[in-house]
């Protein structure tokens, strides 16, 4: 699954740590999701969507 996390984060000038703190996860988790090494669960994907105030499908894309 692809995602636009890195782009969206850069648009807001957020660091990985900032996003990780907002999500309540480790910075390593954010890095792993951004680089496609780990697909988040649905609850975490919803939390990410809430933080960016976007629908999930605007962040996570099919391969």
């Amino acid at each position: 699954m692809n995602n636009r996390l890195k782009i969206l984060r850069a648009e807001r000038d957020w660091s990985q740590q900032h996003l990780a703190d907002a999500l309540g996860v480790s910075r390593q988790s954010v890095n792993a999701i951004e680089t496609g090494r780990f697909d988040p669960s649905l609850p975490l994907a919803f939390r990410i969507a809430d933080i960016f105030e976007l629908p999930i499908e605007a962040i996570f894309l099919r391969d």
């Binding site: 990985q16 996860v25 480790s26 390593q28 988790s29 890095n31 999701i33 090494r37």
Partner: protein, 141 residues
């Protein structure tokens, strides 16, 4: 500050793991003191020999608690990977060696006792493999 210091679940895991490890080593020493070499089977000896097994089971409980208490799903995923790698290495090695022992009488016999220490060593290998596989790529902190 490392993840293990920052995350309360990891802190609890370290403390529990240290306590169970100390208890395990103490129980092994106790068994070596109490059970004489070549002793006949006796209920006391069997009871003393059971103690390390209890602490091994507790170690698995400590790992299970970590998986339950870790609220970060990616860290949980890495812990599961590490445990699976360690279990795979240990089962593969013990299975292969055990089978070879059956048919090759001159091969050194490895007591079953060493399975748990081997699994602990394999956990270290698992940790290294998982760390290398999940290194940050394109970090932008």
């Amino acid at each position: 500050m490392s993840l293990t210091n920052k995350n309360p679940a990891y802190r609890r895991y370290m403390w529990r793991g240290a306590a169970v490890s100390v208890a395990y080593v103490a129980s092994v020493f106790l068994a070596t003191l109490v059970i004489p070499d070549g002793a006949k089977t006796a209920p006391l000896y069997l009871a003393v020999a059971t103690l390390p097994g209890i602490f091994i089971a507790l170690w698995v409980w400590v790992m299970a608690r970590l998986l339950v208490e870790l609220d970060d799903e990616y860290l949980r995923f890495m812990e599961v990977q590490k445990a699976l790698i360690a279990t795979g290495i240990t089962l593969a090695w013990s299975g292969a060696w055990g089978l070879a022992e059956l048919f090759l009488p001159h091969l050194p016999k490895v007591p079953i006792f060493f399975i748990f220490p081997a699994w602990c060593a394999a956990l270290c290998i698992g940790q290294i493999i998982v760390h290398l596989r999940n290194r940050d790529a394109g970090t932008n902190p």
